[in-house]
């Protein structure tokens, strides 16, 4: 089981800020392919990959990163802090 977290408009489109999924996905890209099929909201949230950022166990990562050993995956739009 992996914890999936969503922030900002990804959270709004998906309708939840957190879900647990059972997955065999090897990489972030594989996981995204599984998640976007879960609901219309998920599809909408993941539609524009260029606006998508990911963190694995709270460290920024890219979509080719492997998921082995990862417990928390967060998806969000480009950050707008400061």
């Amino acid at each position: 089981m992996i914890d999936i977290l969503y922030f900002a408009w990804l959270r709004e489109r998906i309708g939840t800020n957190r879900e647990q999924v059972e997955t065999q996905a090897a990489t972030v890209a594989d996981l995204v392919a599984e998640l976007e099929a879960r609901s219309e909201g998920h599809g909408l949230a993941f539609a524009d990959k260029t606006s998508l950022r990911v963190a694995l166990d709270q460290e920024l990562a890219d979509f080719a990163a492997p998921l082995s050993g990862v417990r928390e995956v967060a998806f969000f739009p480009p950050m707008t802090g400061g």
Binding site: F7, A8, Q58, M79, T80, G81, G82
Partner: protein
């Protein structure tokens, strides 16, 4: 080095004074404060979402990097989340160094990284509805100079 992520407002002046009073051997203190722009009255509030845990970790890493790159005596980052009104301080950075070039460079570096690498997302709430602030290409480009 001090790092604070909080919902409550903070007092820029009190923080600046406490920071400047504690630094030993510094000749230069730079502060940056980000305020909620009211966009000529079009903005009622700004809501800031963040990723608890990762926020502290990301900002801590950015500060460690700054302390390693420049000759700093101390550094401070305060960043708020939650609902803020126009004109309110969103966040501040302070740096102290023996000489001004280091204090300025480190403060700009911290700001550039906080803008695009710390997990905060801003939503503008106004008469016309709600809008997530879009990341600016200029902010991403700003990282390339470091």
């Amino acid at each position: 080095m001090r790092l604070v992520v909080q919902e409550a407002a903070f007092d820029l002046g009190a923080e600046a004074n406490a920071f400047a009073a504690a630094v030993q051997g510094a000749g230069a203190v730079v502060t940056f404060t980000g305020l909620v722009r009211d966009n000529g009255g079009a903005l009622d509030a700004m809501e800031i979402e963040h990723y608890p845990g990762m926020t502290e970790r990301a900002i801590g890493a950015i500060m460690d990097e700054a302390l390693g790159r420049w000759s700093l005596v101390d550094a401070l980052v305060i960043h708020r989340f939650g609902v803020l009104k126009g004109g309110e301080p969103i966040m501040m950075v302070a740096t102290a160094a023996p000489h001004r070039a280091d204090a300025f460079a480190a403060a700009e570096y911290l700001m550039d990284y906080l803008k695009s690498r710390a997990p905060f997302w801003k939503k503008e709430i106004g008469a016309g509805g709600e809008d997530w602030v879009k990341a600016k290409e200029a902010d991403e480009d700003a990282l390339k100079r470091w």
